[in-house]
Every structure is written in structure tokens, then in C-alpha cells.
Amino acid sequence: MPTAEKTLDEILDLASAHFKVSREKLSPDDDFFKALGIDSLQTLDLLTKLENHFHVELPDYELQGVTDFRTLAGKIQARL
């Protein structure tokens, strides 16, 4: 099973590639809505990408109140 840090790194890489934001501009505690310039619909798109990448299913209500990459990674990690 990957470590939490590896999961976080992969999420940042995926988000950077999918939304075409430079990887250097993203850090773990960033608000991903602002850092990626996305709305809730695009967040669901990111969720789909993450679910497919990590082969997990993450109910979207678990994203309630989640705004940073580190917490998001924790949610994914809990499903691995």
C-alpha cells in the first residue's frame, strides 16, 4: 500500500496535469478550488480521475468541507 505522502504526490501530479496548472504552483495545504481555479462540477471531474487512478470509490459527500489537497489525500488513503 502506498504511503500517505506518495498518495498526496500522485494527487498533486494528477490535478496539475488534468487542469493544466504548473505542478510547482501546487502545494499540499492549498485550497484546491482556488489553486486549480475550479468549481464543484470540476471537482467531481477530479474525483472521477482520482477514483479511476487509485481504484477506489469515494462518496462525494466525504468531500464536504474538504478544500485542501492534504485532507483530500487522507480521504483517498483511508480507502486504499
Partner: protein
Amino acid sequence: MTTPHLGQTMSWEFKEGVVELRLHRTPCNEIGSKSLDELEAFSRYLQSLDSSAHAVLIYSDLKCGFCAGADLRELYQRSQAMATSDAAKGVREFLERIHSALNIIDASPLTTIAAVNGVVFGGGFELALACDLIVADKTARFAFPELRLGLIPGFGGIPRLKRDISNAVVRDLLLTGRSFNATKAQQIGLASQVVAEGEVLRAARATAAQIAKFDRGTSATAKQFIKPIPHEELRREIDIFCELFSRPAVQAGLKKFVESKDAQPYLP
């Protein structure tokens, strides 16, 4: 080939035995009064087709998704502008009209295929469920978020979903209001195929071409045999929806959605 019909929210074209309905109302094919008018026109057109047609393919031209559901902004604005009793009457009339159109699609002797991508929420999910087959792009995400608004799906979603998948999964989706991806949709038997992003129309057309090989009368008979239309439950769903719509929680839920600063507030 007949002349394509170009509408404001959707357009259709009949070509080589396949009717293709293209949804293109920005931002995400929300179903409002204009969409309903055009969906009714489409359903009438379907009924007029002769034996040269064998399949219907419904897809979206918009990257955001197949359809995000009912136009909640229009629903809220109209219900605010009229007396409660008139709003209730208007909602029932809308539901009866859309049920009629979707029942025609559901019962069509032609094989119907929903080629879905992105958001397939609420009324959009219900439109897909009226079809015989769902082909999903990897970006597709399905949900019945109506409980978030104090409502249940009102366009026939519950009876049609019960027809296709287990009650346990129906309860999960309905009672949590959560969305699920195309992989899950295929695992539970909802999506017959999952394809790479951008490939769904090609895959759906290939499926339609396969269907064209079979005798249309036999296909229509087989479909009628294996796919019952749950008329009584569909009517009951309209009654329950209208009863719930009259509650204050619904107006509060609609208001929250409409006033959200998020352009498309789709997270629960």
C-alpha cells in the same frame, strides 16, 4: 436522409436508420420549459418514423456532461412568481408532460441508446434511464441528488432505476444523494459499456450499427417482452413529488441552490 431539425436546446437528425438526438443547451443541458417543448416535439417525431428506422441515439454536445437535470433556477423563479397553488399545478403539469415524452422514448419500438459523458444528474439520469442501453464515457458521473432539495426524482427515475438494478443500490443512491462514476455504473449493471474520454459517440454508433443487423419487428417484440413500463409507479412518483414540492424545505433548498456563489453547486 431527412432534413435535420435544429432546436434551441436540442436538435435531431435521421441518417442511415438511426435518429440522433443532440443535446446542446448551455451550461449543461438543464431541462426547463423550452427543453420540454423540444423533447415533446422529438417524441412526436419518433412516433412518426417508418420502418426504415432501427435505433435512437441520445448524446450531448457539451463537455460538462450529458445533462445536469432539471433547470432549478427556472423552477425556483417561476414558483416564486406565482401563488403556491398555481405553482403546484404548474409543477404537476410539467411532470405529466415530461413523463409522457419519456414514456414514448422508453416504449419506442426502436432500440434507444444514451451515450453519456460528464454529469448525468437528476433529470439527465432519468433521460438516460428511459433508454434501452447506456454507453458511458469514463468522465460520466451519475447521481440522484433530489433529496438534497427535499424532493425525490420526479421524471420517472425511481421506477426505472428499480427496473434495472437492485433495490439495495437504489436505496444507497437515493438516500445518500451521492454521485458515482462510470466504472461503478458498469459494475452494477447500469452502463453496458465504458469507453475512453471522447469515444462515447463512436462506441454508441457502432452499437447502433450492430442493432441494424436484426429484424426490427423481432427487436421491438423482444424489447416489449423484457422491458415493462412501470406505469402505476410512474404515476405514483408524480403524486409523491407534488406532495413534497409543497413543503417549505423545498423552497429553502431551491433558494440555497440558486443563490450559491458556485456557478454549478453540485457537491452535496
